[in-house]
Subunit: 336 residues, 2 copies
Amino acid sequence: MSQIRLHANENWYNPLSEIKDTLIERLSDIDLHVYPDPDANRLKKELSDYTGVSEAELICTNGSDELIKIIFECYSKAGDSIVIHSPTFIEYTVMSEIRGCKTCAVDPNDDLSPNIDEIINTSVKENASITFICNPNNPTGYLFSIRDINRIIDSVPGIVVVDEAYVEFSQVSLLGKEYNKDKVVIMRTLSKAFGAAALRVGYGIAAPKMIEEMNKVKMPFNLSTVSQESAIVLLENKERLIQIVKNIRRERMRIYGALSALQENTGRIEVFPSFGNYILLRSNLTTDIYTALTDEGFIVRNFAHDKNLENCLRFAITQPKVNSQVVDIIRKVVSA
Amino acid sequence: MSQIRLHANENWYNPLSEIKDTLIERLSDIDLHVYPDPDANRLKKELSDYTGVSEAELICTNGSDELIKIIFECYSKAGDSIVIHSPTFIEYTVMSEIRGCKTCAVDPNDDLSPNIDEIINTSVKENASITFICNPNNPTGYLFSIRDINRIIDSVPGIVVVDEAYVEFSQVSLLGKEYNKDKVVIMRTLSKAFGAAALRVGYGIAAPKMIEEMNKVKMPFNLSTVSQESAIVLLENKERLIQIVKNIRRERMRIYGALSALQENTGRIEVFPSFGNYILLRSNLTTDIYTALTDEGFIVRNFAHDKNLENCLRFAITQPKVNSQVVDIIRKVVSA
């Protein structure tokens, strides 16, 4: 049986075939034996066009993961505290451990929304070097308000990382708003909306002075020529790719609606409003739902044993047919 | 004027066109939206065939640079000492600083060969977490004997990293020899002999237990699918690519001979025997030589202001015509 990957928030709309042709043509021209551009200048130009920030405010990395590592290397030392809101993306904690930092995870409210006051209190009390905000949050789908983000930025002692990996699905960015640019790094990626997880291209947006500091710890040739060149082609075609994101947003609304109805009718699942390309469910039947989906070839993310995510399960929103199949299977289990 | 890059030890023999065709075909099949294989299993299989070690003894990284970082994260903590032999590859020192370690650089003998006793003494005295051996050494071209390497391995307290980035040009590897596998990581790369600097593919060879430890700090998706797939194609064609390395070794002998003759005849340059794909020169005329080469479009590496490399200059060995042009320009300056 073929497996349908819905566990990694991948964007299952393949790049349009015309883009792929351009991509292959461009890759054919690469001199494989020459080291990559350490500054990714041409890629930064495209990202500048896309984001509206200057090239001096950009850093390109081997996925967001490398950017998280660079931020730790630049803005923390062993023994420092850092603050995250639980539940969230696991890599902040992983990188914190590698750096020898203490990770302070702030528990959520009952509805899994973040406890803003407690994030601030903890960061202040611990004199945190870094406070992470994942917006929209993975895996809950929660969207922080810009006001809350600014309250955190203005209250905590160290720098604030705003992870906007899924921003194209939420359409709410800190970028373009008023905020204290001296202490913020915004993280982005081409792995999600641009459907390029295979390439590993992330980028950071920060004040030029912070970019300079981060460049000092960045590995000189961190991003392969192939990844740089492919990312450039995708960004040249951003209008078409962003069109796909609209389809996913529409589908997310539809599926959220269907699952909300199921919640209302049966009371046996809880669905969380999501601003990402995924939906999180909570249910006493999670194990049954997981098994039923797996039996039909749908790989989803089972958080059954994660702190603050007991009985939770996450799946990616993708093409209508697949999304409907997932809902049908869930409905069948829940209505049994 | 076109620029000829001889400053980065790149292998200017492009992959044969048949290989490039296969490469493009293989890249066309990649699902861009799917995350890479975190374990690079198919690549490890090819590397296992190439090196003769098992897949459990391999780790694949985003260039050797990332492997150095992983080694620091795994085997050192802030405040530890690490030992290098000066002059050598700069990234050991860069990564040491990022980790918050103290770098103890052991000065060379007058002929720039490493002072083995002093490497051992320093490592013991400083209780070094990591001792780096670059073999053959970049930029001097010096080849450590296996006996000396083993003496270091058996005498120092922490782990020993043997950087074999240029091993195909020296044909002398620790691999296959007797050595204490519980404390050694051998570093390799496809950037040099395989001419794939653009792809950023490095790999480490170590005991399975050490590989497991390093995997714990490795970023899960550190190597893009495109890099993995391209590396596989290159390794499938290793016999043809290694043939190119033979040409470079032959050229290195020829150029070393020509420059040695110039040394003997004029006494105005000193050429160091090299086991890499590059040659290091020392001369009071280095600035003149550098300027003359630059004027003719040859970019070479000028170490004029580096400690232990005063008046030194390094250039890559490449196609016969280019190599001869470089020698001619040097001869002209030296004979003026």
